[in-house]
Symmetry: C2
Subunit: 336 residues, 2 copies
């Protein structure tokens, strides 16, 4: 089955992916931080049974302790679990669909962290799936819920809808024009936050940002999603305009094509350089300067992460060995 | 008619070209530096008539003052005339064959500077052609010749055979291994000199060197050519061995393929960067890592020189305009 990230979604050249995450807790148990390993295992078991009995999505279930460290880090690299969930695996479990679009972390910070990922801009579609699974669990188990506040979560910033919706945006032109700082302060007034998806700073790795809702209390899921949707579309329009201006400059056009040339030919390629060059290539595809299937690039970004390479090769490679393998895979994918 | 540099000669991946140059003066005239413009024109006229009456090579004749500055500089870029000959054009003339293999500067430092260029290692072949033309002129006009010394030339370093033979060598691996300094001192003991063909220094532009004979007095042409031939073959063998060792290192192999990728894709390319990348590509071709027709690279090296671009476009382009045009021509030539 194709993974979710091989699809090309709406606005897929700029909106890499959409994620909707719901946090839930069971009324009958303390929060995971107050549970023993045995207690966590009981929670995992209870939720697993409900989901597998009503499963139309094809979930698999695995205890986190059954994964090797490389496999766990690879899951984190693919954003299927949090890095924290990968590092402390005792008593925890993961449910995952074949296409990796839906993942449920059991006994992370909350009992249930249900997330749905889709390619491109697909906030309503992702929420619909999350909502259905949530309803199934909620109809069989008692959620910790307060009529005045909403869903109860360990961290107070999630209280209320306990929903975090986000989009991964590729904003190379706005980054180059130095406009991200201004954007960040504008979106924060609108209840959203934007930050580097891979590392912080003014120019994050691959020029990829995560835009997400901040407010969960006193707002409906629908309002939060509509707000995020409309601001995303505005940012996409701004990025498109900035990229079109940028690429008229032969020096910027040159950078895009050199990136393509290096990706297609390099024999040694570090992860950081790959992300930088892939960002330029993606901008070139978005501006129609380069003719290339963007979904192949999406797949590459996932495949060439360090632990994901190790997991695929089933051994602990050195960084230099990975750099050679990464270059090979990139070359093969781009020059088919 | 194809230019001489489009051929691929013997050892053509490393020996770019061979040049044999003879200096001659007419007994009946002072050296050019002691001639008026009218006197120089008389010398040019006399030699021209002899050559055109016995021409089996297809010479054209042109007064240097009839060339624009860009055309004259382009001739120098193609090594058909000396830069000094291009800058002071009064009273001087040039004879040139269609394939640009034979050029005769009239009233440069000496009355006659006859040079034959051939692709690859072709010392005997080039000398044979030069010798034939020399015999024709010598049978009709009196050369300044001394039985004890040989041919008389303005500069005492040319006295005797007045022959300078040289090969252009591409030595990227020996350069990278830091062996050129040692080589230079070795060949100087053998009566030869090696220096950067484009600019001096330990790592000249494009890693291209000129190896030439130093001694013209008390030695026959044949001995000088044999000596140069045998040392050239030794250097070629050393370069091949060094390149094979070098390319086993993935980091060095990577440099070669990145150079290829940038040359095939860049939209802006300076002359210096082109020479650097072309050198890496040539090494890759020589090691059979890259499959590419080396003669197309030879042609490019000539075509994308600044004045040669201006001459082809028939206008004075800015450096930025040339960088864009150079990138385009390189791209087109490499991705046919």
């Amino acid at each position: 089955m194709n993974k979710w990230y091989v699809e090309n979604g709406e606005q897929g050249d700029i909106v890499i992916s959409t994620r909707v995450r719901l946090a839930r807790n069971l009324e009958d148990y303390p929060f995971p931080c107050r549970l023993t390993v045995k207690g966590k295992e009981a929670v995992c078991e209870e939720i697993k049974n409900v989901i597998l009995e009503n499963d139309t999505w094809g979930f698999s279930y695995a205890k986190m302790k059954d994964f090797t460290r490389a496999q766990a880090v690879s899951l984190a690299e693919r954003h299927l679990i949090s890095p924290e969930f990968a590092s402390d695996r005792a008593g925890r479990a993961l449910m995952l669909t074949d296409d990796e679009a839906v993942s449920i972390m059991l006994c992370e910070e909350d009992h249930i962290r249900l997330q749905v990922m889709m390619a491109g801009l697909a906030l309503k579609e992702a929420y619909t799936v999350a909502d259905k699974i949530d309803n199934i669990i909620g109809s069989k188990l008692n959620y910790a819920y307060d009529n005045r506040i909403g869903y109860l979560t360990q961290c107070p910033t999630n209280l209320g809808t306990a929903m975090r919706a986000s989009v991964m945006l590729h904003l190379p032109a706005l980054t180059r024009c130095g406009q991200i700082g201004k954007l960040a302060s504008t979106v924060s007034k609108l209840g959203l936050t934007i930050r580097g998806a891979y590392g912080e700073g003014s120019s994050p790795r691959g020029d990829i940002y995560q835009l997400s809702n901040q407010i969960t209390l006193g707002i409906s899921e629908e309002s939060a999603l509509n707000n995020l949707q409309s601001i995303t579309l505005q940012l996409v329009a701004q990025e498109r305009a900035a990229a079109e201006r940028l690429i008229e400059n032969p020096v910027e056009e040159d950078k895009i094509f050199r990136a393509k040339g290096i990706l297609e030919n390099a024999r040694v390629l570090s992860g950081d350089e790959f992300m930088e060059l892939a960002s330029l290539l993606r901008m070139g595809i978005s501006c129609k300067a380069v003719d290339y299937d963007i979904t192949r690039l999406n797949e590459l970004v996932v495949r060439v992460q360090p632990a994901t390479i190790n997991a695929a090769e089933e051994k602990e490679l050195t960084a230099s060995q990975r750099d050679i393998l990464r270059a090979k895979w990139v070359r093969e994918a781009l020059t088919v």
